[in-house]
């Protein structure tokens, strides 16, 4: 390189001076109103300078000799690789640096030759042409080397690499509102991984030791004004790599039509994948890609952000459009949790998006994702509303057999148990509807003597949902003809609600007052049941003439018989009824037992003379034992049962 710098200036000075003078003379000669004398002088001068020029030209020919020699040398260095199958960067650092040096040399030669453009010289032109051609060859080679290098060093990542980022819910709550059946799968949450430190996840998409090589190519290509070629090659290669990473995430490429027609379980899966892919895409891949672009192109102006946007755009459109398709889909209550996941993920990432696509080139990406966030928020609100409406409008035609816990109660309570996980988000999104909800449910009394968690918007909404559930259950209870069973049904279901609230995070949002009230409610139904089933039965055993000590034999017999029939009737019906909660069942059996057995024992005790096996079909012990068969959900009959009193 030094050679070249010394070769050119020897002729440089002369050439410039003579050429400049010649130009001036020529220019003056074209002036119209010159005196004849002056014109003659100029013509002489022109002729003189012309001879000088031709002198220098021959001398200059020799002057360019050094340049030509140098060019020949560099040509050899560059041409040798043209017939070589091996890639330069694969053959070692010596070859690499030699090649880069040669390219530098060509560039310097070209710069030198160009600076002499004032002077028209065939030799210079020819050399410049050769040098430019050589440079083009080298640039084209470097482009190939770049692509080869990027392809060869494309890092592969297993999705499990990002396991922490990806698993918020290990099990999916896939149940739809229409399939109100089994208890939903328990969801295991691991939310403690949602760290905002995005830098933690930046990986080397290209091994660190390759970066200087790529940079060196970038440097010489940009220096030779081949920056555009570098960028196009770089974008093409990295775009493909990103698409490969995206493919690993297994997000299906779906059309909007596909998403809208998708059946819920598959859609739920896709929604999960999206949530996971978004995090990995932005926190890991795009953050790393951005760093790669900055590392390699940071010093060449705005090319880094231009390339970054070009690389990521297609993949982002995929993620974006899935989000749009979900947001425009029908708002079904079962979508709520998945939508909340999507919303939370995006609102978490939206700051990263702003940072990654901070400049003009990325404004499209920023605007679109902010728009999507808004639309997802709308979908969450809408789905929440529809959930509430579905809870109150769920209709039954037939009474639920046995009076046990209705699937709707199970569905609703298990579903809302997930909500506290999303407390902050729900509070944010439900806030503006807060007052509506409070109006809907007058019993709510939000805020009064309540701690913050029981008065937050979500808490109010939760209680409004359970109160919709309660009124729906009341409606459903009316389907039973038997008043006692109505009470058993309501007792079971309200007890279930209370239990679910007590055993979960929900208790913080429902508060003590709600608990007290609802405990009282199901106890009230318990009492109502006892009254409507047993008060008529017990009244048979009552002493309606407290003065006399005992009943007449016939009256006693009659009463006994009536009691027996009534008891058998109750036994027959109520063994088929159901109290699923063992504790609740036992409590009710005990309290029933206390009343009935006590009354029966007193009745028999007051008439000891009449007690014989013929009259008294059921002993006190039998009655006590039989009561334990009630509410087991399997119909029995005392008449044919083995518990019949033996003769």
């Amino acid at each position: 390189m030094d050679e070249c710098q010394s070769a050119i200036p020897t002729v440089d000075g002369d050439l410039h001076v003579v050429a400049a003078a010649h130009h001036i003379v020529k220019a003056l000669g074209t002036t119209k109103n010159l005196s004849d004398d002056l014109r003659k002088i100029l013509i002489d001068l022109d002729a003189h300078l012309s001879t000088m020029t031709s002198n220098i030209d021959s001398k200059g020919g020799k002057g360019f000799f050094g340049v030509e020699e140098q060019l020949k040398q560099v040509e050899r260095k560059i041409m040798i690789w043209e017939s070589e199958q091996m890639m330069i960067w694969d053959s070692g650092p010596k070859d690499t640096s030699d090649y880069l040096e040669a390219v530098d040399e060509v560039q310097t030669l070209i710069d030198g030759l160009r600076s002499l453009s004032v002077y028209e010289n065939q030799k210079r032109k020819e050399l410049l042409r050769r040098a430019s051609s050589l440079l083009q060859m080298a640039m084209s080679r470097l482009e190939d080397e770049l692509i080869h290098m990027l392809a060869k060093h494309r890092q592969q990542f297993e999705p499990k690499y990002m396991s922490c980022l990806s698993t918020r819910w290990n099990v999916v709550y896939n149940e739809s509102f229409d399939s109100l059946e089994n208890e939903p799968a328990k969801e295991t949450s691991s939310r403690n991984c949602t760290s905002n430190e995005s830098s933690e996840y930046i990986v080397d998409l290209v091994p660190a030791h390759v970066i200087p090589d790529i940079k060196s190519i970038a440097k010489v290509m940009f220096a030779s004004d081949y920056g555009q070629e570098f960028c196009e090659a770089f974008i093409g290669e990295r775009k493909e790599a990103l698409e490969q990473y995206f493919a690993v995430l297994k997000m299906g490429k779906l059309s909007i039509g596909d998403v809208l027609q998708m059946e819920w379980t598959s859609l739920s899966n896709e929604m999960n994948k999206w949530t996971r892919s978004m995090k990995i895409m932005f926190r890991v891949y795009l953050a790393s890609e951005k760093r790669l672009c900055d590392l390699i192109l940071g010093e060449f102006g705005s090319f880094n952000s231009f390339c970054f946007v070009e690389i990521s755009k297609a993949t982002l459109l995929c993620l974006l459009n899935f989000g749009e398709a979900v947001a425009m889909g029908p708002h079904q209550p079962e979508k709520l949790l998945r939508l909340l996941d999507m919303y939370e993920t995006l609102s978490d990432i939206v700051l990263d998006i702003d940072a990654l696509f901070s400049d003009e080139a990325g404004s499209f990406v920023r605007t679109e994702f902010h728009g999507l966030l808004e639309r997802l928020a709308g979908s969450v609100k809408e789905s929440f509303n529809i959930f509430r409406v579905s809870v109150s409008s769920n209709k039954s035609v037939y009474p639920f057999p046995g009076g046990g816990v209705h699937p709707l109660s199970k569905y609703v309570m298990n579903y809302i148990r997930m909500f506290p996980e999303y407390c902050n988000t729900l509070n944010l999104l439900l806030e503006d509807r807060h007052s509506d909800a409070a109006n809907l449910v007058t019993e709510l009394q939000c805020g009064r003597n309540a701690s913050l968690s029981t008065s937050c918007p979500m808490a109010c909404h939760l209680r409004s949902i359970t109160s919709s559930l309660e009124s729906n259950l009341h409606k459903k209870s009316k389907l039973y003809k038997d008043e006692a069973l109505q009470h058993i049904f309501l007792m079971n279901n309200i007890h279930y609600m209370v239990q679910k609230v007590k055993d979960s995070e929900l208790r913080h949002f429902f508060g003590d007052e709600w608990m007290r009230k609802h405990n009282a409610k199901f106890q009230q139904h318990e009492m109502n049941y006892e009254r409507s089933t047993w008060s008529s039965v017990i009244s048979l055993l009552k002493d309606d003439n407290p003065g006399s000590s005992s009943l007449s034999k016939s009256t006693f017999k009659e009463r006994c018989k009536a009691f027996g029939i009534a008891f058998e009737e109750v036994y027959k019906t109520q063994t088929s009824w159901c109290i699923p909660d063992p504790q609740l069942r036992e409590d009710l059996q005990i309290s029933t037992s206390l009343k009935v057995v006590h009354a029966y024992r007193t009745f028999l005790g007051r008439n000891p003379a009449h007690v014989d096996e013929k009259c008294v079909k059921h002993t006190v012990e039998d009655v006590e034992k039989s009561l334990l068969d009630l509410f087991e959900g399997s119909p029995r009959s005392l008449r044919n049962s083995p518990r019949r009193v033996k003769p």
Partner: protein
């Protein structure tokens, strides 16, 4: 007339009834007027589109932007006619219980087309970048072998991108690329490294042509009594939507356009449709001519780019230093043309993409509004 004067009397009651009928008739008349006005606007807008100035030839970037604007205007007007002060129950009754779901179904299909086309604009942009490389090489004075080779490399890639079969953008490339893994072929004419495939947004078997076909399927102009009522603007809107999507697919590179329909039946006697039918025929003719050739699409700028690029490739093929003065001048002309096209693309592609996105969001919003109305109609009367 003061209805109170007659209150209580039999005559009065009749009169009130008659007033109501008059009101109903007035509403109906207003509606017919609105429909007529809507169709007049459609007619005006499309006749403007079919007589473009020099600056925006049919299917040029700026023309497409205008077309999308027309869509947005027509859509807004249509929505107002159908939904403003509308009794939801009316739209849930025949024939609307069929017409509106069909319209919404087409809308969803249009959304996928918008996405495919948004993606296609990216490949146009890629072509622009390649053309810019060729320009910067050939803008040098004097042009030498190096510049010519540089330009040729970029132009060959450009032509390959233009002629890329949009059925399998990836296959063509992977074979081109295989050399880069360790083995460098001696083929001097190989396509340059910046060659980029179109990465499709949707499933491999998704086809823009089929999507358009399915939007045309069972599109029938309203007949008889329906022809004068609300079904008629619904039909008009369907036709506009299909036309706009079809024109976009014809113009911009798009996933799988083989078999793109060149005709969809619109009765010629419909006044509002004259210009639209004219445009449709014009574009269809162009499409038939080009279909067998490259698949860059009918975008005016792309076609001009293709022509200039081909001329410049011919120039580079025959170039021998120092080059024939006449040919050099001709080449300079093509470079100037290419420069102009790139300038238009640089200015126009982003706005075009924004327009497409705006149409996308508008269709989503409008669909939601229709669904809301239908939902209201399906709720029991309280």
């Amino acid at each position: 007339m003061n209805a109170n004067e007659y209150q209580g009397s039999f005559l009065g009651r009749i009169s009130i009834r008659r007033n109501q009928v008059v009101v109903m008739d007035a509403i109906h008349e207003q509606e017919l007027e609105d429909i007529e006005l809507f169709q007049k606007h459609v007619s005006d807008r499309f006749s403007e589109l079919s007589s473009p100035s020099d600056d925006d030839a049919v299917l040029s970037i700026s023309w497409l932007c205008k077309l999308l604007d027309v869509f947005l205007c027509c859509e807004a007007e249509f929505e107002a006619i159908l939904l403003m002060d509308r009794d939801p129950y009316q739209l849930s009754k025949p024939p609307f219980d069929r017409l509106i779901p069909e319209l919404l179904d087409r809308a969803v299909k249009a959304l996928d087309i918008c996405n495919a086309v948004t993606n296609g604009v990216e490949s146009v942009r890629h072509c622009q970048k390649l053309a810019e490389i060729a320009i910067s090489a050939l803008d040098q004075k004097p042009i030498g072998d190096g510049e010519v080779k540089r330009a040729k490399r970029a132009l060959s890639t450009l032509m390959a991108a233009i002629n890329l079969d949009d059925k399998d953008g990836t296959n063509a490339k992977s074979t081109e690329r295989s050399w880069s893994f360790g083995r460098r072929s001696g083929n001097k004419d190989r396509v340059a490294g910046q060659f980029r495939s179109l990465s499709w947004q949707v499933a491999k078997n998704w086809s823009a042509a089929k999507q358009i076909q399915s939007t045309i399927y069972n599109l029938v102009a309203p007949r008889g009594a329906e022809a004068s009522g609300l079904p008629s603007p619904i039909y008009t809107m369907n036709v506009i939507m299909i036309f706009v999507m079809w024109a976009l697919v014809a113009a911009i590179p798009c996933q799988e356009r083989t078999g793109l329909p060149t005709h969809f039946p619109v009765p010629k006697q419909l006044n509002w449709a004259h210009s639209l039918i004219g445009l449709q025929e014009k574009i269809a003719d162009e499409w038939k001519k080009k279909e067998k050739k490259g698949m860059a699409g009918l975008l005016d700028e792309m076609q001009r780019m293709e022509k200039s690029a081909q001329s410049l490739i011919d120039f580079t093929d025959s170039f021998q230093f120092p080059g024939d003065a006449e040919k050099l001048q001709e080449a300079a002309g093509h470079v100037a043309e290419l420069t102009e096209i790139c300038r238009i693309m640089e200015q126009g592609l982003t706005p075009l993409q924004m327009h497409i996105r705006e149409v996308f969001h508008r269709i989503v919003r409008s669909r939601t509004e229709f669904l809301d109305v239908l939902e209201k109609a399906s709720l029991p009367v309280i």
